[in-house]
């Protein structure tokens, strides 16, 4: 590390101690600027220009036409009436997916956290069991379940053995969607369980002792004590899960490829296909769509920061 130490010492003599802070900051700020802030501004330019060339010199300015195209719909509830029907299919798939996935996942995370918070033997073991899939890569998660769910897979073999006929799970649109929800819940719930468990353990014991003295029923204790005291943590978990869910791509793309048809094509996959997978590459549309996603995510993140601040303060 002498190679860094000598120039740093020279800079310290030149700038003084307090201003040296900027030198420590520069590498990181450079990365943030170049790969986080600059892209945001460039994204706006892309969204306002057309053509299939990635270089700005060859991109004609077209104003809000990309947004007009995306938002041109006879009826927003029916993708078929939209000019960019693929986009709206992805939007509605994502909306349904987020609603179901976040609801189910937070519900099961809460249930698991409550069970793990009981006087349970081998709690550490059970906790890590639920956490294990969080570490797996999306592609591995997708392949594991693809292997289990394939036509002649172990689940169908079990169903045959029980006497219920198997289903070709990933060929049926509704089943493929349902399994996509299941798979993402499977892969991520351990993470939220962990945060909720930490929240539960932060609730003081004496509150529960008082409730036991008053002979409150278990259900009453749960709804009147646990839930209100856990509410801030639950809210953080809910918003974190929402932010993550809106961005779902990897698992489902490796699992179904967005199919059958467009049954599991979500909004990030739409952006990926418009900009990177298809030909011609419609950068403008991809950028416009990602600005709309960014808008949703910024709102969710602001809510999260606000909630975090409130729960930290009080």
């Amino acid at each position: 590390m002498r190679a860094i130490e000598i120039p740093m010492l020279a800079l310290q003599r030149m700038l003084g101690v307090q201003r040296l802070a900027w030198v420590f900051l520069i590498p990181n700020l450079l990365l943030f600027g170049l790969f986080a802030f600059l892209p945001i501004f460039l994204n706006v330019i892309y969204a306002l220009t057309g053509g299939d060339n990635i270089l700005f010199a060859d991109r004609p300015f077209i104003g809000g036409r990309n947004f007009d195209n995306l938002l041109d719909c006879g009826n927003y509830l029916d993708p078929n009436s939209c000019r960019e029907d693929k986009f709206w299919r992805a939007v509605w798939n994502t909306a349904w997916f987020v609603t179901l996935q976040v609801g189910i996942m937070v519900g099961f995370s809460l249930l698991t956290a409550v069970v793990l918070n009981r006087d349970i033997r081998a709690r550490g073991f059970f906790r890590s069991v639920f956490f294990f899939p969080v570490l797996l890569s999306p592609v591995v998660v997708a392949l594991i379940w693809k292997w289990v769910l394939q036509r002649e897979g172990v689940l169908n073999a079990f169903l045959d053995w029980v006497g219920i006929g198997g289903v070709n799970w990933l060929v049926d649109a509704q089943w493929a969607f349902a399994w996509s929800v299941f798979l993402t819940v499977w892969a991520h719930m351990g993470f939220y369980t962990l945060i909720l468990l930490a929240g539960l353990q932060a609730i003081p014991r004496d509150v529960y002792e008082a409730a036991t003295m008053d002979r409150a029923s278990a259900w009453r204790t749960f709804t009147k004590i646990t839930l209100p005291l856990l509410a801030p943590t639950l809210l953080v978990v809910l918003i974190l899960a929402l932010i993550r869910s809106v961005q779902t791509f990897d698992e489902v793309y490796a699992f179904t490829g967005g199919g059958p048809g467009t049954a599991t094509t979500f909004i990030i996959q739409y952006i990926y296909e418009e900009g990177f997978a298809g030909a011609p590459r419609v950068w403008g549309m991809a950028a416009a769509a990602s600005l709309l996603v960014a808008f949703v995510l910024v709102i969710l993140t602001l809510i999260q920061l606000w909630v975090n601040r409130k729960s930290v303060d009080g």
């Binding site: 860094i4 740093m8 310290q12 101690v17 307090q18 040296l20 420590f24 900051l25 990181n28 700020l29 943030f32 170049l34 790969f35 986080a36 600059l38 892209p39 945001i40 460039l42 994204n43 892309y46 990635i54 698991t112 009981r118 006087d119 349970i120 033997r121 081998a122 059970f126 069991v129 639920f130 956490f131 294990f132 570490l135 890569s137 999306p138 592609v139 591995v140 392949l143 594991i144 292997w147 002649e152 897979g153 073999a157 499977w186 962990l194 945060i195 974190l240 932010i243 993550r244 961005q247 791509f249 990897d250 490796a254 990030i268 990926y272 991809a286 950028a287 990602s290 910024v298 602001l302």
Partner: protein, 350 residues
Amino acid sequence: MARVWEFLTATRGDKRLRWTDWVSYGYLLLGVFLMFFPVIWLVLSSFKTEADLLRYPPTFLPQQQQTMVVDGYEDPLPLFEMVGGEHEGKVLAQLRRVGLQAQMVDPANPSERLRVSIENYQPIEQFRLALENYTGLFERFNFLLYFWNSTFITVTATLIMLLTNSMAAFALSKYQFRGRTAVLLLVIGTLMIPQTVVLVPLFLIVSEMGMSNSLWGVIIPGAATPTGVFLLRQYMITIPDEILDAARMDKASEWKIFWRIIVPLSAPAIAVLAILAIMWRWNDFLWPLIVLTQSENFTLQLALNSFQGELRTDWASLLAMTVLTLLPIALVFTFLQKYIATGIASTGGK
């Protein structure tokens, strides 16, 4: 056995199990099954031969048909046990099968050929791991190349990230300078910009810098994480300033203070961030998918994904490759499980 029972039943001091305890344990055991069985099934399947994989209904353990070298035949012949017909009870080797009839030979008397209906025989099988699925990966595919690409990206990106993030965290926690609040706000702002929404311009920047289709194009943009700066800053704030002042009295340079004092003292936080970074980079998919278009630059994740299209019939290789991809993470998990859990809970993930 008694100890296991004691372990499972003893709870709430010496009281007996209540029904809620039974429900809890039932739920948790179902959880263990759901979380582990698919993974175990995949690992077991990866040791099956191609023929065994195609079998329906599947068997739990990898099995292979027993074979035997019979006099007069070069290749080993598969063995069958007769369960009906005139040869019932004998063990015969199969020469070939035509429709519902098989040509068999008795190993004890190889000169005579027998005709047998396939209804009357059952294959003799034994437990055997098809290790060739794994060795084949090294012989037939560029597995080592993908493994190297993934490892290179993970290690380099993690090191760069740890260095730049801890430097920034040091500046933000131990110096009073003008513009500190502005920088902190900037870092928070970065939290709001996930890579998924700036894909198009990010790709332009990376390719203009000549890094498209290179591993550096994956490494460098991934090194900017606000989470890391936050995590480390929160930790460094707790290091008392007196230590720094004492070092300054001894004429230590600021870099020496950072490198010799702050970094070693922040080791626990840096370790947590390192584990997170390794996990993120190793498992990363979307950004490498965009940057790396030539297969010799593929990471393991990309190779796995593209192979599942190309090798539709070759599940044996695909499963073996999947197991090798999840192995490093599973090892990290077993050894560092305690730290990972607390680390992730305290940072709120990515």
